[in-house]
């Protein structure tokens, strides 16, 4: 039987959700009987092939994030927003209280101890969005996995439910936003 293909990525996130995913430890071995990874920081594949499940961590803070998210949406049958940032912007969205100019000035010009103050403008650097947004404001999201990060058990639960063809549900013990 063909394995279920899973892609994962981190946008404006801290990779904490990915670390928590790996926290499922030896259960990952059993899971790999049933799933294989497409694009993921775990294998460093750079582009998403057609997949069954896409797990997206992090909010949208720059143009590249939006591009990657759209690639995931186009290629994944089921897209899951993973973690607080993907769901409501999370910690990255705290910059929404300020203008982009204020943020850049603070980080690169005015902050104490800044050496050679200038705002980086290399063409390779993706342009920042004026505000940080959660995923569902840009693409359709099929399922949400809350938590900062979601516990490993929550990853196991949602993937197992999907593998078994069930509608995913999170028991209260593993549903938390912090």
């Amino acid at each position: 039987m063909r394995k279920v293909r899973v892609a994962t990525t981190s946008l404006a996130g801290c990779f904490g959700c990915h670390m928590s995913f790996l926290d499922m430890d030896e259960r990952l071995v059993g899971l790999l009987e049933h799933i294989e990874f497409s694009r993921s920081p775990i294998n460093d594949i750079k582009h998403c092939e057609p997949c069954d499940i896409g797990l997206v961590e992090g909010a949208l803070c720059n143009a590249d994030n939006v591009h990657v998210l759209r690639e995931f949406r186009q290629n994944c049958k089921i897209l899951i927003a993973v973690g607080a940032c993907a769901i409501n912007g999370g910690v990255p969205a705290m910059r929404n209280h300020f203008t982009l100019e204020e943020c850049l000035n603070e980080a690169f010009l005015d902050e104490i101890g800044v050496d050679n103050p200038h705002i980086p403008n290399d063409v390779e650097i993706p342009l920042l969005l004026s505000k940080v947004h959660p995923l569902h404001e840009v693409v359709h999201v099929d399922y949400y996995l809350p938590g900062c990060p979601p516990p490993a058990d929550a990853f196991v639960k949602i993937i197992t439910d999907l593998l078994e063809g069930k509608e995913p549900s999170l028991p209260r013990e593993i549903l938390h936003y912090d």
Binding site: I87, N88, N96, H97, P134, H176, D178
Partner: protein, 243 residues
Amino acid sequence: MSKTIKIDGVDVPFEDGQTIMDAALAADIYIPHLCHKPGLSPHGSCKLCTVDVDGRAVSSCTMPASEGQQIANNTPALKEVRKTIIQMLFIEGNHLCPSCEKTGDCTLQALAYHHDMLDGHFPQFYPRRNVDASHPTLIIDRDRCILCELCVRASREVDGKNVFAIAGRGIKRQLIVNSPSGKLADSDIETEDLASHICPVGAILIKDHGYEVPIGRRTFDLHSIAETDLEQVILKKTVHHDA
């Protein structure tokens, strides 16, 4: 014979003057509520306590109980309505639970868990709101204020003061402080006041105590809102569960 109402098919006795919420709480029946706290006058603003009375949606915290009412409370449809209200409360403010001192002790968050809320559904408002950290022992973070007026009522009805009010309209609606400067430090609030402790969310906090109980061991990490509200646990401070 005492008078009764029926909640989800169960006979619930009541006395004249009691609301549907009063009668339900007295009978250990949980109706979700957020702006209501027994002992303070009902406010009827959050609408989380919406029940179906003889086919009409009403707020149970303000609706007087009356003989023979047929009330639906715990139904899938009402659960969905209440979840939508909670989602709107989340997206109207800046509720970034991972960075909030109140996480795990927050009634709004606990209600969201209780209603299986996984996302905010609506686009985020990300309103810009102010912090008032002027007071030596208290802090106001308006990002998280849900305008429930529990602090307003606690100050007026229990503390015998008049420290808070809600002013403005729409997205500009916000908590204001009754002091010449508008700052909390210049008001007559004291740490011991009920108004300092009653906030159901992380909008009025006692400084320096936010992380005494570790995340994961707080009230709603260990109990559901239905349990704690029925026990009338007034969430002044997390009980220490490590003992």
